[in-house]
């Protein structure tokens, strides 16, 4: 897990915002975070808003569609039920006009009438005639009801008053749900009022409702105005009990309402009052089941939303990381170039100073040299003091010291001179010796052993002496800093088969931890920041090696030591290619 994190962690992640010698670098992580947050907001907010709006619009349209559909079903049902009842009332009315009351009072004729009614309309159970005192004076049907008194019943009074009457469904004394349709008949001859009364079984009536095809666990039934269930209901109570839904007040038109049932379930209920009857048609559907399609839409919407968000986030994070990393790399490159330039400039100044000093010192040195030589010559050639060993010894030591000074100034001059880019033929052994000479004193003080294993027969190669010196000096200096007193430094050089020179600088110092090893060539990476390291040494060295067309590698083990390996092409690039100015 940690190694995976290590692998995908972008380069800029570990930079200190204020790191770098005098360079104010950006806080890349902040830029990265800012970019991501901004992009996420810009990309996701419209998406969310769109999804939300879409969801609401869909829900709204689904809801209104459901209400409309329920209203339509309710209206149609109302029409069917009303038509059914109307048809039967009209049938009675037709009988009255067609037959007249005298014919209807005749039982034989009445039996024929009932038979034809049953044949043509169906649903008629019995038929009877009641006189104005409420006594049944004629009756044809399965029960023995002749002479029964109906004057106390609600239907009698209503029919007398209004002409027609449709009863609610009731069990009556037959214990069979039925309803009664009655019609007032006036005997034109005697002027007496009679009532033609027919009983309908509820089968036909019920089938109108049960045949309705209702989606979503729908239920269609009829209740009377008190809410007593008149036809079988699937879910809302048994026949002739009160329905478990609230009944709204009378309305001419169909109404649809969202009602919460007694069991807490939400229902979409269509109500329609049927004119001139006690009936109300109820079409009840479960809102939840009606809204089922919304569930599917919502899931789809959610999936699309989640997928989009994930893809957008991935893309944003990827792009932001990529870009910030590019910026980081560009900054690093710029800083590195700047530093190299600064460094080169500084070196050039030091070089000019050194050259000036060396030159000024060289002339007096030459004079001292000549004068001392002359004195020596005088002694030797004139034979005057030839035997004075002490004087001769003194003069020799003057001459030796001058020679030493001369070596130093010559080295200074050669150092200064090679700040200028200059391709030279180089014997690697000489170069290594020159560099080591600079550090030999320090090595002696610290009793560091330096082993050089450079074969005599290395072919000379064309390269920039100054840069090579600097590369070599940096590596040896690094090794010195890594080692304790009494360490071993080993320098080897070999020619490879493919025209390359491989040289290694190996120390037995503290080594470099694995975590740092891939960053040691980064500019500003330093483990010695507190002691004034700039983190530039190895990066400059690396840059120089690259400039000279070589490559550089490092191997290290903590506590055992570090080996730097540099591979230089033996066939140097042409001097014209290198036009860096000091």
């Amino acid at each position: 897990m940690a190694s995976l994190l290590e692998k995908i962690r972008p380069q800029f992640w570990d930079t200190d915002s204020d790191a770098g010698a005098g360079k104010s670098l950006f806080n890349y992580r902040r830029i990265w975070r800012f970019a991501i947050i901004l992009l996420v907001l810009v990309a996701l907010i419209p998406l969310m808003v769109m999804a939300f709006i879409d969801y609401n619009v869909t829900r709204h349209s689904l809801e209104s569609e459901n209400l409309l559909r329920t209203a339509r079903t309710t209206s149609n049902t109302r029409r069917s039920v009303a038509y059914f009842l109307d048809e039967r009332t009209k049938a009675l009315e037709f009988l009255v006009h067609d037959q007249g009351i005298a014919a209807l009072r005749n039982n034989g004729n009445l039996a024929k009438v009932l038979a034809s009614l049953q044949q043509s309309f169906g649903g008629f159970v019995d038929i009877g005639v009641i006189d104005d005192r409420g006594r049944q004076i004629a009756y044809i049907g399965p029960y023995d009801l002749l002479g029964r008194d109906y004057s106390g019943q609600e239907g009698f009074a209503t029919t007398m008053a209004h002409g027609t009457y449709i009863s609610r469904v009731f069990l009556g004394f037959r214990d069979e749900p039925h309803l009664v349709v009655s019609r007032k008949v006036r005997d034109s001859r005697s002027g007496e009022d009679y009532i033609l009364r027919a009983t309908l079984d509820t089968d036909q009536f019920n089938s109108i409702l049960t045949q309705l095809d209702l989606p979503g666990g729908g239920d269609a039934f009829v209740v009377d105005r008190d809410g007593v269930i008149q036809t079988p209901s699937k879910e809302h109570g048994s026949l002739l009990t009160r329905v478990d839904l609230a009944i709204p007040g009378y309305s001419d038109t169909t109404r649809v309402e969202q009602v919460r049932g007694r069991d807490g379930v939400e229902y979409t209920v269509g109500y329609a009052y049927i004119h001139d009857t006690p009936f109300i048609v109820l079409v009840v559907k479960r809102t939840r089941e009606l809204m089922m399609p919304l569930q599917t839409i919502r899931m789809e919407l959610l999936w699309i939303l989640i997928t989009s968000i994930v893809v957008i986030l991935l893309v944003i994070v990827g792009v932001a990381t990529y870009l910030v990393n590019k910026v980081y790399i560009a900054d690093q490159t710029r800083a590195r170039t700047l530093h190299r330039m600064e460094h080169t400039n500084r070196m050039a100044s030091i070089g000019r100073l050194a050259a000036g000093v060396a030159h000024e010192i060289n002339n007096p040195l030459a004079i001292i040299n000549e004068k001392a030589g002359l004195i020596r010559d005088l002694f030797v050639y004139k034979q005057e003091y030839a035997n004075d060993e002490r004087l001769l010894g003194n003069i020799d030591s003057i001459i030796n010291s001058v020679t030493r000074c001369g070596k130093i100034t010559k080295r200074l001059l050669s150092f200064a001179r090679h700040i200028d880019v200059e391709m030279d033929e180089i014997e690697f052994k000489d170069l290594a010796n020159e560099v080591i000479d600079f550090l030999r004193k320090e090595a002696e003080y610290r009793s560091i052993t330096i082993d050089m294993d450079i074969p005599e027969k290395l072919p000379p190669f064309i390269s920039d002496r100054g840069k090579l010196q600097q590369i070599f000096l940096n590596l040896v200096n690094n090794a010195f800093q890594a080692m304790n007193d009494g360490g071993h430094l080993s320098i080897t050089a070999r020619e490879t088969a493919c025209d390359q020179l491989v040289f290694t600088v190996e120390d037995d110092g503290c080594g470099i931890p694995e975590a740092d090893i891939k960053r040691i060539f980064d500019p500003f990476f330093s483990t010695k920041k507190k002691t004034g390291g700039t983190g530039l040494g190895l990066s400059i060295t690396y840059g120089l090696v690259q400039e000279l067309g070589g490559s550089m590698a490092v191997e290290s083990e903590v506590g055992t030591g570090t080996t730097f390996t540099i591979i230089m092409p033996l066939k140097g690039t042409k001097p014209e290619d290198k036009t860096d100015k000091a």
Binding site: N362, A366, G373, D377
Partner: protein, 116 residues
């Protein structure tokens, strides 16, 4: 064998001439280019040892003017600046030069070599 030493440092050049004398090299010296030209007109020198950097007339210029008049004359340069690149820029390959401070024995050997 006659040798002409030219260097703007009188102390240096006089001592050098005297030392060369000890080693059987007959050397005249002067501290400027103009007198060197005059001396060369009077005496036939085999070898001229010139300092690279001198006021007014530099070593290279002096060499050109001497070589014009005395085609057989050989030249050795002394340089305190030590820039081989500068030197090579103005001097054809095969020029002889020594960087100051010099070992007199090196100079004597070089003189004998070029004169031979």
């Amino acid at each position: 064998m006659k040798v002409l030493l030219v260097d703007d440092e009188v102390e240096l050049v006089s001592a050098m001439a005297e030392r060369l004398g000890f080693r059987d090299v007959d050397a005249d010296w002067t501290d400027n280019g103009e007198s060197a030209l005059a001396m060369a007109d009077k005496t036939a020198y085999d070898v001229a040892v010139l300092d690279m950097k001198m006021p007014r007339l530099s070593g290279l210029e002096l060499m050109e003017r001497l070589a014009e008049k005395h085609p057989d004359m050989k030249f050795i340069f002394l340089s305190g600046h030590g820039s081989e690149a500068d030197f090579k820029a103005g001097c054809a390959a095969g020029c002889n030069y020594l960087i100051k401070p010099i070992q007199l024995e090196d100079l004597v050997a070089l003189i004998r070599k070029v004169a031979a």
